[in-house]
């Protein structure tokens, strides 16, 4: 059984549809990268895992199971227990996710309880300077604050760590170190990671599996090397083509043409159809069902007949 199982999840904000039937599985101990453009629904899906959505959000269908428990149907006390036992969250804004009026040491102690060893937990995230404990969050650098946030998230030994672009706000040299801390701590604890990111090369390097989001759905998922190296969905192919590191020197970067959609209700067909170079008539009005291409699960009507074409294109650009 999967540790995390998201099934056909539909989330609406006041007028817009953030998730339009998203599916995702994360197994015990697995690291999964969730990638996609801004507005594709990554953050909504990440927050939905712990039912941490903004108040305006409403679930219009589907379910989220964490360790078999239906997150959206649990009573409050059980939901809190599930969050404490199974889940950990790290967010994009490191200083903002710490209480600005409480010293770092006190925040850690609040999480750890009376018997907790604050120094040990700071040591685990490579923060050895005892002055950190007496500091307020605004006195820390972004990298230090994010390490503190990681220490707090990992203090309760969660089975699944949801990291929502935890390094996007950091300087590039700090980024690597913070990512290292997260992945090594999770590996030691045997925890799974759901890593929300824009950074395709980093995801390709660090994650076991990748799920690609577009228009509020996971349009392709599978082993990281396969999905990013040999995509079966036209959108993934375009995204991988647009990633800087994927382009060889002298080859022009090809951005995904057009803009991502803003849905107000269920997408009638494939949400990517208007931007898709391979779209045909039915793509506009028929929702694609998942198909299996090699090791990937793909939401595309033409996935099977496009396979040779996409492979050939990769060879040309590679």
């Amino acid at each position: 059984m999967s540790l995390l199982s998201v099934r056909n999840l539909v989330i609406d904000y006041a007028r817009t549809r953030a998730l339009d039937g998203a599916d995702l599985e994360v197994a015990q101990g697995e690291t999964v990268g969730l990638v996609g453009e801004s507005g594709s629904g990554k953050s909504t899906l990440g927050s939905a895992v712990g039912r941490l959505l903004p108040r305006a959000a409403r679930r219009a269908g589907g379910e989220v199971l964490v360790a078999g428990e239906p997150v959206f149907d649990l009573p409050d006390a059980k939901l809190r227990h599930l969050r404490r036992r199974h889940l950990g969250f790290v967010f994009q804004d490191p200083i903002g996710s710490l209480d600005p009026t409480m010293r770092v040491g006190n925040q850690l102690r609040l999480v750890l309880g009376r018997g907790g060893d604050v120094r040990f937990h700071l040591g685990r995230v490579k923060l050895d300077d005892p002055r950190v404990l007496r500091s307020y969050p605004h006195q820390l650098s972004g990298g230090m604050a994010q390490r503190v946030a990681i220490a707090m998230a990992m203090a309760t030994s969660p089975e699944l760590l949801v990291a929502d672009e935890p390094t996007a706000a950091l300087d590039s040299q700090v980024r690597e170190e913070v990512s290292n801390v997260i992945f090594s701590l999770a590996a030691d604890a045997g925890a799974s990671i759901l890593w929300l990111s824009h950074d395709l090369p980093a995801v390709a390097r660090r994650c076991d599996r990748v799920a690609v989001m577009y228009g509020g759905r996971v349009v392709e998922s599978g082993p990281a090397r396969e999905v990013l190296g040999n995509p079966a969905h036209p959108y993934t192919a375009a995204l991988a083509g647009a990633a800087p590191a994927a382009a060889a020197h002298g080859v022009r970067l090809e951005p995904v043409p057009g803009r991502p959609p803003v849905l107000t209700g269920p997408s009638p067909g494939c949400a990517f159809a208007p931007r898709c170079a391979f779209a045909e008539e039915r793509c506009g009005h028929e929702r694609p069902a998942p198909v299996r291409i090699r090791e990937q699960d793909v939401l595309c009507h033409r996935a099977a007949d496009l396979e040779p074409e996409l492979s050939r294109r990769r060879e040309v650009t590679a």
Partner: protein, 322 residues
Amino acid sequence: MRLLMWWSGRALSSAATLLGVSVLIFAAVRLMPGGFAETVLGPFATAEQKAELATRYGLDQPVFMQYGHWLAAVSGGDFGISMISRQPVGAELLARLPVTAELTVLAVAASVLLGVPLGVLTAVRARPGGGGAAGRLLSGLGVSVPEFVLGSLVVFVFSRYALGLKVGSWVPLTQDPAANLATMILPAAVLSVFAISVTARTTRDAVMGVLVEPYVTAAVGRGESPWSIVRHHILRNAATPVVTLIGTTVAYLLGGALIVEHVFNLPGVGSYIVQAVGRRDYAVVQAGVLLAAGVFIVMNVLIDLLVGAIDPRLGVLAGRRS
């Protein structure tokens, strides 16, 4: 060193503010239509009588001379003599301060004990879209009904149906606490209606603002209970605007709740000033307004210190890295 700089800066700006207020009030009192002589001697007084009175009180001197004399005396702690009662103004104000202070304490205690929990509760319970309408209507009413309307209404109702409470016939606290409270509860309640409404509204807005902060989401994600989140993360972070408001309310009330004291006939600073204005008792009005300004300045310094203690980012020494 930084602290010293801060304090000396505050002292200088406070002195400048007080000086400015003193000039304004001195001029304003003398610009009121109908001078002291007319008020005291009545409409049928002769020009000689008025001139004689003006000479006796030094009102025939040029205004800036009068101001100079007054300023010199005030800096020495002498607020002058009431032109009506012939008593030292300082002593009279001091004698009336306990009444006003008691009223302030009662009204502010009510707004903290009721307004703050009400604000926190309505914010935490708020649902998107609906809800909050009833609270907004109530607090809107509380804020906008004028004190003299509510005060008069209360006086009218309780003069007929006492319910153990009294209107007027004030008794000093030291003489009979129970009887004193019976006379103070109604005016304090009238003041509280406004104070509670504003406090609840401000608290609600502040808490709503904190609720969407990422550190609250993070705490929810860690599985902390709502009560623990309110206690550890919300109260302190939402406190800054509330403390500022309560401090300002204290200053406002300590300066004399003019209308309520007058309506309920309480011998406080407020009713003293209202009387003095009616009789053109210049020395009293000047001293009263100066006192109110002084209270405001002191309260503002206190608020700044408190806010700095609550939120390290806003402190006097903020920006210093540990």
